[in-house]
Amino acid sequence: MSSRNTFIGAVEIGTSKITALIAEHNGHELAIIGLGQCASQGVIKGAVVDFKAASDCTHSALQQAEKEAGERMDMVFLAQTGGHLEGFYNEAVVNVKSSDNMIDQDDVQMVCELARSKELPVGRSVVHHIRRPFRVDGRLIPASPDNLVGQKLEVGYWTVHGQEQRLADNLNMIRGFNLDVNELVLASLASGYMVTNPEERQHGVLAIDIGAGTTDFVLYRDAAPFMTGVLPVGGSHLTNDLSIGLRLTPMQAEKLKLRFGRANVQAKDKAEKVWLDGNFAIGDRQFPRLAIEQITAARVRELLESVKKKLGHAFSPETCSAGVVLTGGTAKLAGITEVATGVFGVPAHLGEAPRWVSEHLRDPSYHTALGLLYYGLRSRAEAFPPVRRGSGFIDAFKRLFANS
C-alpha cells in the first residue's frame, strides 16, 4: 500500500454498541478496509458514565478494526451525541463596503465572524457552526456571494454546542488509545449525510436517527442542514417500558421488542398471546401481543412527536417536501414509517446506504459510522483546505515523526 494513503478511523460510541471503521483515503477515494464492534458498557443515553468500562470497549473496537484492516489509524473522526447537545440560530447582516456594492472576501469573512460571535454559557463548547445559505438583499445565494452585487449581506449559523466535560470524556477515551480526534461530528449530521441525497436535501428532508439511547435528527433545507437536535430517548426506552409494563427483565423485554414490537398496533384480538421464548422451557410464559404493540407504539409515537415538537416552526410539510428518512437500529421496528408519515404529515421511508456500500455495512446501525467518514472528510477539507503534500526531505522527515 502506498505510504501516502491516509488511514482514517470513524468511531461511534453508542448506548448499545461501539462501532469503529477504518477507511483508506488516497486523496480521491475512500475504501473501507476494517470494522470493529463491541457491546457498549458505561454509556447511558450517549453520555459516558463509566470511563474505564466505556474506554475498554472503545479500545477493543478500535483494535479489532485495526486488526481486520491490517493498518494503523492515522486520524480519528468521532461521532458526538447526547442530551447535553443543544443548538441555536444566530444571524448577522453587514452592509457591503465597496462603493460599487460588489461583495468581496472581506465582507463575507466579516458577516460570518459576526454570525458566529455569540458567546456561550460557561462550560459549553461549540461542536459545529452550521452555516445556512447567504442572502444578498434578501435573495438566497446557495453558493459563495463573492463578486455579487448587493447592499446587504446576510448569513445565519446554526450553532451546536455541548457540555465541555462530556465532550472531553469522549475525546479522552480516544486519546487513551494514543490517537487524536481530528474531527468531532454530530451523529445526526453523519447519519443524515449518509441516508439522504443532495436532491432530497435541496428540497428539504428530515433525517431521524433513532438509536438505543438517543434520537438524533437533522432537518435539511436548501441543500444545507437547517436545524439539528438530540433527544435522550431511544430504543432502550421502549425496552424499559416493556420491562415495567409486563414485569420482565430488561433482557427479556429486549427480546420481546425485537420479536413482536411494532410502531403501530396491528393486533385485533385481545386474547392473542405470544410466548416469551417459545421453547416451552421452565420460565417461558405468554404475553398478550396487543399489550406489547400498544406499549411500543405509544412510545414510538411519543418519540416522533417529541422530535416534531422540538423542530417547532422550523418544520412544515411545505418546506420538507422530500419527507422523512428514518435510520438507526430502532428504525427497523415494524410499522415505524407509517407512524412517522402520520406524525409529520409527509412521506416517510427507511434510509438506505448508497449502493456502493458493501452488503455487510448496509444495516442502519452502521449509517452513522459510514457518514462520519464522508462528512468528516468533507468538513475537514472545508476547514483545512488541501495543501500540496510536500515530497521534499523536510516533509518526509515530518511525516516520519508524525504521531502514530
Partner: protein
C-alpha cells in the same frame, strides 16, 4: 469567539490508557526514538565528514593518494635467490609515488618478462606497502649464446626457458653443465624455450641425486641427437663421452655408467665413448694414449679397441644405486 471542541486539551494520561493504547504508545515512542537516534547518527557522521574535509583539521584522515609508497617487499619461494634490491631495480618505481597510482598489471608483466620469474602477484597493503610474491625458476644448465666476438652465458630452466639469471653464486653456476647441440631461436628480448628440456633436466636431476661424483665431471650435455636418435650425449671433463637413451630409465643407465667408469679407470686411455642407450649391452670404445704414453703402457695392436660389456642385472659387480 466562543470556545470550540478543538480548544479542549487532549492530554495523554497513562492511567486512562488501555493495554492496547499503551502498546500503541510504546510502539510510537520506540519508532520516534529509533528515528531520532538514526538521524543523530547521521548528523554526527556528516559532522565528522565536514571536520575531516577541513584542510587543517587534525581529524582529517590521511588520504591514500597522499601517502608515498614504502620500498616494495619481496616474498619469494624458499629456495629463491632474488632479493629486495633486485625487485627495486626491476620495478624502478618513481620516488614519492602512492599506492593507488601504481599499475599493478604493468608491473606484473615487467616481472614476468624476466625468465627467472615463474609467477608473480602484487598486492597493495594500505596505506603504503606493496607486497610482491614471486616463484622463481631454478636453472639446471648453462648455454653460451653469441658469436665469437661477443657471447653471453644464459641459464636454462627445467621447462627450457632461457634466462640470464641474477643472484646465483659462482660456485653454483660453475657446477652446472653446458648445453650443446642446440640452436636457440630469438624471441623478443630473449629466446624461445628449448624443446624437450624436461627430459634433459630429469637426467641431470637423477645424476645429481644418484651419482653426484660423476655428475660433477659432466661438462657438456649435447641435445644434437635428441630429436633424431632420442639420445643425449654427455661429454665429461676427462673427454669421456657418454650416450644416454632418452626413453627414460636414467637410474639404470647411471648405474651402468658408474660401473663402466670403475672399469675404465683401470685402463690407460686418452678417450672413451660409452653408449648406454642400448640397455644391458654397453659398447665402449677406448682410444689409446699418444706415442709417448704407449711406451709406458702396453697397448692392443689396433689404434682403437672396442669391447662390449654385457651387464647382467644380477651381476654382483653392478652397483646398487
Amino acid at each position: 469567539m466562543a470556545p470550540t471542541w478543538r480548544d479542549i486539551a487532549q492530554p495523554m494520561k497513562t492511567h486512562a490508557m488501555s493495554k492496547g493504547g499503551r502498546r500503541r504508545r510504546w510502539r510510537v515512542g520506540f519508532r520516534q526514538v529509533s528515528l531520532g537516534l538514526f538521524f543523530l547518527g547521521m548528523a554526527w557522521g556528516i559532522w565528522m565528514i565536514v571536520l575531516a574535509l577541513q584542510p587543517d583539521s587534525p581529524h582529517r584522515p590521511q588520504l591514500v593518494k597522499d601517502v608515498p609508497i614504502r620500498a616494495p617487499e619481496l616474498k619469494t619461494t624458499r629456495d629463491g635467490v632474488l632479493d629486495d634490491a633486485w625487485l627495486g631495480r626491476m620495478l624502478a618505481l618513481p620516488v614519492g609515488i602512492s599506492l593507488m597510482e601504481l599499475d599493478l598489471e604493468k608491473l606484473r608483466e615487467r616481472l614476468l618478462g624476466e625468465g627467472q620469474v615463474l609467477t608473480a602477484s602484487l598486492t597493495r597493503q594500505f596505506p603504503d606497502r606493496l607486497i610482491v610474491h614471486i616463484t622463481e625458476r631454478a636453472p639446471v644448465a648453462r648455454v653460451r649464446v653469441g658469436s665469437a666476438v661477443a657471447s653471453r652465458d644464459w641459464l636454462v630452466a627445467r621447462d627450457g626457458v632461457l634466462f640470464l639469471g641474477a643472484g646465483y653464486s659462482v660456485a653454483l653456476l660453475e657446477s652446472m653443465p653446458w648445453l650443446g647441440g642446440i640452436a636457440v631461436v630469438p624471441a623478443g628480448r630473449g629466446f624461445r624455450p628449448i624443446a624437450r628440456m624436461d627430459v634433459v633436466a630429469r637426467l641431470l636431476a637423477d645424476a645429481q641425486f644418484a651419482a653426484e661424483s660423476i655428475y660433477r665431471m659432466w661438462q657438456v650435455v649435447s641435445l644434437a641427437r635428441l630429436d633424431s636418435d632420442n639420445e643425449i650425449e654427455v661429454t665429461m671433463k676427462d673427454s669421456t663421452t657418454v650416450v644416454f637413451g632418452a626413453k627414460g630409465g636414467f637410474f639404470v643407465q647411471l648405474s651402468n655408467l658408474d660401473y663402466m667408469m670403475e672399469r675404465l679407470a683401470r685402463l690407460p686411455r686418452a678417450k672413451a665413448r660409452i653408449d648406454l642407450s642400448l640397455g644391458r649391452e654397453v659398447p665402449v670404445m677406448v682410444e689409446p694414449l699418444g706415442a709417448n704414453d704407449a711406451k709406458k703402457i702396453p697397448l692392443p695392436s689396433t689404434a682403437a679397441s672396442f669391447f662390449n660389456v654385457r651387464i647382467n642385472s644380477s651381476s654382483k659387480n653392478q652397483r646398487e644405486l
